[in-house]
């Protein structure tokens, strides 16, 4: 009885666009959904450091190196903001990281693809960050206060990320023939995985119902995907690269691009851990975490010693 009334009040707040804050009552499913979505988002930022980190040491100029390092560092920061927002839901960062370590938690499948050439730094920034930004801009209006605030901060900081990638693509596309070839190849490999980042079609997406009703999600997978494609096609044309989709065509009636069907078999294979780099990414994370254990313990032991000294004094 009590819960039904609370649920009604909760929904009324959501409908009135009043943000939900950590100490407010919330349905258990809302909490669970947010814990899962926010931690997946955080894990994606952290694992997402690796494909770009793969070229950091080989960046071809000092400028491109500092830009890339600053960008990857931002991703660490954004992971941190997201864990911190997710912690307000009564679960610690340690617990979230345990789920990542053991492979129980998911992260965006895109990061299980390899970055094979320097042009992939362009493709990742332009397409992967581009797709992520479309999603994040929409999430700035999500109903959970800490998540929305985190997204506002992240969107502000990420504004340079997509440009960084696009600049690399543009430079390579107008560079030597082999550079242009590299750029086109990167686009070919990253295009489909990027548009699959938005997830399955709305008709096949089991979690959408409540997430939309509770305004955790402010737009559906297909809406976000369409918006990304519509803005990206023109960017490809400007730099003289071809999007690898023969069905891509402007639809005057819809005012949007029609596009071909994605390879959902591949999508689900990668989601289930069958990506080219799935094992490697997880192992990299686990190695770093395990190598840091003695450091974390030392810092903790030092703090405890200082505290007990203070108590004596």
């Amino acid at each position: 009885m009590e819960d039904a009334k609370k649920l009604e009040e909760f929904q009324a707040k959501i409908d009135a666009e009043i943000k939900i804050e950590p100490k407010d009552w919330m349905p258990e499913d809302y909490r669970k959904h947010l814990q899962r979505q926010m931690s997946q988002h955080a894990h994606s930022e952290i694992i997402g450091m690796q494909p770009e980190g793969n070229w950091l040491l080989r960046a071809p100029s000092l400028r491109s190196k500092v830009v890339l390092l600053a960008k990857i560092q931002d991703e660490a920061g954004h992971g941190l903001y997201l864990y911190s927002a997710a912690e307000t839901l009564g679960k610690s960062r340690t617990e979230y990281l345990d789920e990542l370590k053991t492979g129980k938690a998911k992260y965006s499948s895109i990061f299980n693809y390899p970055t094979l050439t320097w042009a992939d730094m362009g493709a990742v920034g332009w397409l992967v960050d581009g797709a992520a930004i479309v999603n994040q801009v929409s999430l700035q209006r999500t109903s959970y206060g800490p998540y929305a605030r985190g997204m506002v901060k992240i969107c502000k900081e990420e504004s340079f990320h997509q440009r960084q990638g696009y600049e690399i693509m543009a430079d390579m596309a107008k560079g030597s023939p082999e550079q242009k070839e590299m750029a086109q190849d990167a686009l070919n490999r990253f295009w489909w995985p990027s548009i699959m980042m938005f997830g399955p079609h709305d008709s096949d997406s089991p979690n959408t119902g409540n997430a939309v009703k509770w305004k955790i999600k402010r737009a559906t997978n297909d809406q976000l995907r369409q918006s990304f494609i519509d803005k990206t096609v023109h960017q490809a044309e400007i730099i003289g690269l071809t999007i690898p989709d023969p069905d891509l065509k402007w639809n005057e009636n819809r005012g949007s691009y029609d596009f071909g069907e994605m390879d959902w078999d591949e999508f689900w294979t990668v989601v289930k851990g069958g990506g080219p780099c799935s094992k490697q990414r997880l192992k990299h994370y686990n190695d770093a975490h395990n190598n840091g254990e003695w450091v974390r313990k030392a810092a903790k032991a030092y703090a405890e010693k200082q505290n007990s000294k203070q108590k004596v004094a």
């Binding site: 100490k23 560092q73 990281l97 974390r296 903790k300 405890e304």
Partner: protein
């Protein structure tokens, strides 16, 4: 001495963006002690020239009101409009008051 591996306690971070302004809450972080918390706050929250002064406060030191307090705490001030200047009627033409 506890021997569990964790991320350390949470510290809330407040940043003054320029002299003269109040410190504003910007987020939090994990750190084993106050010096590390301060350094981490610097590294995390001032990457874009955002700050001139940082406060870090242990999360446990913050006392928060709860939604149950809302009515008793905040509603009694709703009917005290006389605390705001627009409540008062001024003679026509009066300025700078």
């Amino acid at each position: 001495m506890s021997n569990t591996d964790d991320q350390g306690p949470i510290w809330e971070v407040f940043l003054q963006s320029k002299p003269g302004l109040a410190h504003k809450h910007v987020g939090n972080l994990h750190a084993s002690d106050k010096e590390m918390a301060l350094q981490n706050a610097r590294d995390l929250y001032t990457r874009r020239k955002e700050g001139t002064c940082i406060w870090v406060v242990p999360f446990d030191a913050i006392v928060s009101s709860t939604p149950e307090d809302d009515e008793a705490f905040f509603e009694p001030s709703n009917d005290k409009a006389y605390r705001t200047p627009t409540h008062y009627v001024l003679p026509e033409g009066a300025k700078h008051i």
